[in-house]
Symmetry: C2
Subunit: 348 residues, 2 copies
């Protein structure tokens, strides 16, 4: 009985492994949002600017052009670092700083507002070469939360800091601080007032499912073959009670390990925490032998879809293979490798 169970387990798992390892690259199931390379490129970078109800129908040509330009400029910045031999970590830092400073995205300037009409920002970083990591949650005054996350990783014995204490640490580290109002934009002030009016009428807290998850993220591969991943966000419109989403959670919103991949997520954060999405992609690669595209695609388009969790992610392995799956209408996204540049907004 035991032997039979073992044998059939062995056979079914072996089949699974064989199918995973050998079929997909040329098979039917290959996701369309990916790009596979055979040889590792000199460097590679992939970014996202949030997923959600992003359709041609609710976009103006001006807005579309602005997002395309911003995504290209972000990739330019990261590519410049990598081309000149900079580290993956530095490329992620500089690229995310640009996205934080750009008011188009829900991170840094342009972040959504909390119920108290403040901006409370989250960010995290992970270095794939040694799996060191850093994160801040609920910071209000550090201009670039991604830099605070990097300072936590490099200059403290900790991985995660939150609230006033995290701002205090950033200040002690000499990082630029700004008044909280620096992060405000007219558009987000309007959004919070609408959300509050809706809450008063319907009692519904937080975002609607058809709204946008405007996190930003970046995964880079440098000339030394090291991966790094980072994520930054203003979180959810109308959040309160010090709510923390997946973005500053290592294993949920961000993960990196040279042996598997770097990942940055965007979406309904609670689901990404419960299903440890970023770590799951890496673990599926490590333990099931899936490719980065198979693992990322399974987690976003099968597991999360079944559970009702909406969003997307970017992931890249140490050979520069890129996956950008999402189960929403669109996701601001793009990647660059030497001589290659892709920027996309809508589903295909």
């Amino acid at each position: 009985m035991r032997k039979n169970t073992c044998l059939s387990l062995f056979l079914s798992l072996a089949m699974l492994v064989f199918m995973n390892a050998c079929e997909s690259p040329s098979g039917q199931n290959q996701p369309t949002s990916t790009a596979e390379t055979q040889e590792a490129p000199e460097y590679a970078i992939v970014i996202h600017g949030g997923a959600g109800t992003i359709t041609k129908a609710n976009m103006t040509p001006e807005k579309e052009a602005a997002y395309n330009q911003a995504l290209n400029e972000a990739l330019d910045i990261g590519e410049e670092v990598l081309k000149n031999g900079g580290s993956a970590l530095e490329a992620v830092e500089k690229t995310i700083m640009y996205l934080e400073d750009n008011p188009l995205f829900n991170a840094g300037k342009g972040a959504v507002l909390t119920n108290a009409e403040t901006c409370e920002l989250d960010a995290s970083i992970m270095d794939g070469s040694d799996q060191n990591a850093g994160a801040v949650a609920g910071v209000k005054y550090v201009k670039n939360p991604i830099r605070a996350a990097i300072a936590v990783m490099k200059n403290s014995p900790h991985v995660m800091m939150a609230g006033t204490g995290a701002d205090q640490f950033a200040l002690e580290q000499g990082l630029d601080t700004v008044p909280n109002e620096y992060f405000y934009t007219e558009r987000r002030l309007e959004a919070i007032r609408k959300a509050k009016a809706r809450e008063e009428k319907t009692g519904m807290i937080g975002q609607r499912h058809d709204e946008k998850y405007g996190t930003v993220g970046c995964v880079a591969l440098d000339k030394n073959g090291n991966l790094a991943a980072g994520t930054s966000t203003g979180g959810m419109t109308n959040k309160r009670w010090g709510r923390i989403g997946d973005s500053p959670i290592i294993g949920a919103g961000t993960y990196a390990d040279n042996a598997t991949c770097g990942v940055s997520c965007t979406g309904h954060g609670e689901y990404f925490i419960r299903y440890t999405v970023a770590a799951d992609v890496a673990h599926r690669m490590a333990y099931l032998g899936e490719s980065v595209e198979e693992a990322a695609n399974f987690v976003i388009n099968k597991k999360l879809v079944e559970k009702g969790g909406s969003g997307g992610l970017i992931a890249m392995d140490a050979k520069g293979n890129v996956a950008m799956p999402f189960n929403t209408e669109g996701m601001y996204r793009g990647y660059a490798r030497p001589g290659e540049r892709v920027v996309k907004i809508y589903g295909e």
Copy 2:
């Protein structure tokens, strides 16, 4: 070339799967800190009260008796719930409440003090039946942080709340609140003063590696076959900057999924976050076909040891198989199944 790679990948993975599935139960590698059952018991519960430098040499008979009594009383409480048909969730709640109220443990009353000489508490819970989860970080006034974590899971759209906002939520939920001084004990006041004096002399922040990680945790299996896991802690002595450890991080300090196992960790939290320890145990079971004891033992005694991360965990699968590995000198721990009770402190 590609075909050869596939074939050899297939063969090595198949071997691995075969070895994992068939060899260990009777093999040499079986860890000693585990207990395997063939038939699922009616219910089961496993607890820990922290890992670290816990040796006969630095223990008095009185202290040893007090810890043994406390662990037994905690198991009594959880067993009572489960025996009477209560849910795994309720058993975890009641058991951890007892450990939080008991000043012997670093959770609730008796928590370690921060650099500011306050208590800032973290807790998390996960329900294995639907993978819903809740967590609070850095709360100062809610008497039983585990109850706040459960309220976040059940009565909010969120998974994680931090700081003042989380305390505010607990208050709105009608949970008991106390002045922060309620948590203080003479022993922890002494410890923080020693830690600060040491820091002044040596510049060293935080705990020494040879100190104790006093988190508490519980995993329960109820009569309906559902698993739940919870963790509660005061964190690290002399912590500052709003440092968050692994205890409130789903996938790091706590995880539960009926399909694999429930897990609660204790140790040097930064390592448990970076290596997503709790989720890794579950993923190794799901993807590699390892047993709960093989997975838990690998992560604690191989992966973490290689990385320099000290601590331990408790884990249980839906058949009531228990693992309690640790890579420190000791771990307060125990489990109960119908007619069976084990309570241990030191290594074997």
